[in-house]
């Protein structure tokens, strides 16, 4: 059985401290529960959570959905946003953990990446160096999510065409966003049209999709 690996890169820099990080925890646990109600997701989905602030941490290595234990995500009260470093870490992880097809073994499905940030990369040089490398990993979808006024859509647009902008990182908005994320992950098991390719579902009303 092929796995569908999904990577979450989550910004835990100082600006997330307080309500935003609580909201993020809440929304993520809602998403995991939603996914666990879907037998198709239960059959193939593997999740990984990587956080980044000054440091990059693999909070949860790639784990089958049924055994996935969502850890409490915390963040320091201040500090830089090392998005570039996070991409570098992700690049290594995807290369080592996602199974590629070989002449004797079936490969995993193309992985999905969701990058959530409320600021902009403090390590811009590394970020720009990693963008083409991450793009070369052949993700099925990369979704960038910029939350709050300080988040820089432009930076994310260098990585992916699909950028969702959330005006605030409050609980309701994040919950809606992660509902959309789970819809996106579940796309594959719906009926396929006779003409068009499978596309992302439309985002919920209160989210701005920057294309």
């Amino acid at each position: 059985m092929r796995r569908l690996p999904v990577f979450f890169l989550l910004d835990t820099s100082g600006s997330m401290y307080g309500e935003p990080i609580q909201a993020l925890n809440n929304a993520l646990s809602g998403m995991v529960n939603t996914l666990r109600m879907d037998p198709q997701a239960m059959d193939s989905l593997w999740l990984s959570i990587i956080t980044f602030d000054r440091e990059v941490k693999e909070l949860m290595p790639l784990t089958e959905l049924a055994s996935f234990q969502l850890p409490e995500i915390t963040c320091p009260q201040s500090g830089p946003t090392h998005t570039g470093y996070a991409l570098e870490f992700l690049y290594a992880k995807v290369n080592s953990e996602v199974r590629k097809g070989t002449p004797t073994q079936k490969g995993d499905w193309r992985p999905l990446l969701f990058l959530f940030t409320d600021g902009k990369p403090s390590d811009l040089q590394l970020y720009r160096k990693m963008v083409p490398l991450v793009k070369s990993l052949n993700f099925a979808t990369i979704v960038g999510c910029a939350a709050g006024k300080a988040a820089d859509d432009g930076m994310l647009k260098e990585l992916t065409d699909t950028v969702v902008h959330l005006d605030t990182a409050d609980s309701a908005t994040l919950k809606q966003f992660f509902k959309w994320v789970s819809d996106t992950i579940e796309q594959g098991n719906k009926s396929m049209g006779t003409s068009e390719q499978v596309t992302l579902p439309p985002p919920p009303g209160e989210v701005n999709l920057v294309i």
């Binding site: 109600m37 037998p39 049924a66 097809g101 070989t102 004797t104 079936k106 009926s191 396929m192 049209g193």
Partner: protein, 502 residues
């Protein structure tokens, strides 16, 4: 949250209410809202529907609705399909009014360890995937939800009948899938939903190609072609028959018939497209073993079902073995060779006559198909059959004094019943049986060390070996080689008894 009202575009003056909480359930193409009393849903297409599509929906809720339900036997099908009853329009969006499914299609317990999916729909995937029945899997389904192996035969019979009826009306479902066929092993029933995709050959083309796992190989192999290209294959009656065969295989064996270990391309998407499309190969192809599942590569939670050596498709018995061969070997790339739905229905029913209860109380499947050997045992838990086992072979009168085998056999177990459809070949076991025809005419018991048939309703039962009439209310012993005439009426059968496992 607000309650909204929409008007029917078919029946002037008729309106429907639905509750809009801003978060409809999202299907592939529709947003679904419940009525205030939750007895029906209103499902709006997200995209505008063109003239042809509206016409199709109109016909589904009017002409086809009437021809399926407003006639004799309609009640049986009302249970089997979730058929749209009306068409509405609001804000230029077309919607359908569809009755809600029966309560038995929602989980009463769900997962064994928590209530996360309690109350959720029982879509087929829950029961087709081996993980959810694996005792070592953290989020397995509760035992009370799973039924036993015999439950899935009844479920598959119902699905086959639903497809048979659609095809008899010249329609194709076009998207039979986990989500579109709900199953309930507890009440042993199935419901075919999402009828609005119905394809009428020549009149209304399909708008979906189907759902992964169930799309026929020829549809995937030609999906790159333009819709108008003569080589392009779209869903039809014949692709329904592929989906039906896959579904039956999955509900009986909890694995996909085409997902094996063979690699066609190093790229995952290309490999998947080839292995389900152009290069599709049955994992249990008798001559070509190249697509056998590689047990060192499967998720251990998928065992023992992924092991085709331990649980080969032949455990489903001789009739289904034949049809699986036809569906996944001869007919896989030759759609016209695929067995029609009625053949599946009849083969499934005949197979239930071969089934024996497993004597191991802890056996998870509880039933198995007699394997025609001298030392029968349950293929699932390995428990050997205890005691003797009467086998009744059915014969029909080909011409006066010449009796031929029916290729139909009845395995006897304690407290098993005999029915009209065993007695007379003119009575066919299908959804058109009357209530009176479903009443047993006799039963088999192991009584004081002997197997006997007790006659309850057979007016002309005769022991031909001992040349003796067996009146109603009396019994006849089943002995090796004995011949019984079940009925003198036209179509009445003779059975020849073999005692196995002596």
């Amino acid at each position: 949250m607000s309650t909204k009202t929409v008007n029917s575009v078919i029946n002037a003056g008729k309106s429907y209410q639905y509750v809009d909480n801003g978060e409809p359930m999202r299907g592939g193409m529709k947003d679904v809202y419940f009525s205030p009393d939750r007895s029906y849903v209103v499902a709006f297409y997200r995209d505008a529907q063109d003239f042809a599509s509206r016409e199709r929906l109109r016909k589904i809720v009017t002409d086809y609705y009437n021809s399926f339900f407003n006639r004799e036997g309609g009640d049986y099908y009302r249970e089997l399909y979730c058929w749209p009853t009306d068409m509405v329009e609001a804000d230029k969006k077309v919607g359908l009014v569809v009755p809600c499914y029966h309560a038995n299609f929602f989980f009463k317990k769900g997962y064994a360890s928590n209530d996360l999916i309690k109350g959720k729909e029982k879509e087929g995937k829950w029961f087709a995937s081996p993980k959810f029945r694996n005792k070592q899997f953290t989020l397995r389904l509760d035992e009370a939800e799973l039924g036993n192996w015999l439950s899935y035969f009844q479920i598959c019979v119902n699905i086959s009948r639903g497809v048979k009826r659609l095809h008899a009306a010249g329609l194709a479902h076009s998207d039979l899938s986990y989500k579109n066929v709900l199953v309930d092993p507890v009440s042993k029933s199935a419901a075919i939903i999402d009828i609005d995709g119905l394809v009428v050959p020549g009149l209304f083309p399909p708008d979906v190609i189907g759902t992964a796992d169930f799309i026929a190989p020829e549809v995937l192999a030609t999906k790159h072609l333009d819709g108008k290209d003569p080589g392009r294959k779209l869903p039809s009656r014949l692709t329904d028959l592929h989906a039906l065969a896959v579904m039956i295989y999955m509900y009986l064996l909890y694995r996909h018939p085409l997902k094996g270990g063979k690699i066609h391309d190093l790229d995952t998407e290309k490999d998947d497209l080839l292995s389900m499309g152009e290069k599709a190969l049955f994992i249990e192809h008798p001559q070509d073993a190249s697509n056998r599942p590689k047990l060192n590569q499967v998720n251990p939670k998928e065992l023992p079902w992924a092991d085709v050596t331990k649980l080969p498709y032949t455990i489903t018995g001789p009739y289904l073995k034949e049809l699986f061969y036809q569906a996944f070997v001869t007919g896989l790339h030759t759609p016209t060779e695929r067995p029609p739905a009625e053949m599946w229905e009849q083969a499934l029913l005949k197979t239930t006559d071969l089934m024996q209860p497993c004597s191991n109380a802890a056996c998870e499947q509880k039933w198995y198909v007699f394997d025609n050997t001298h030392s029968p045992k349950c293929p699932f838990c390995g428990t050997p059959h205890k005691g003797t086992l009467p086998v009744l072979d059915l014969y029909y009168e080909f011409k006066p004094t010449v009796w031929k085998p029916e290729n139909h056999r009845l395995m006897v177990y304690n407290n098993q019943y005999l029915f009209q459809w065993h007695v007379n070949r003119n009575i066919i076991r299908n959804e058109r049986l009357t209530a009176a025809q479903k009443v047993p005419v006799g039963y088999f018991v192991f009584h004081q060390g002997k197997w006997v048939l007790v006659n309850q309703q057979l007016t002309s039962l005769k022991d031909l070996t001992d040349d003796k009439e067996i009146p109603i209310g009396s019994m006849v012993e089943l002995t090796d080689g004995k011949r019984l005439l079940l009925s003198r009426e036209e179509g009445g059968r003779v059975v020849i008894i073999t005692i196995a496992n002596k």
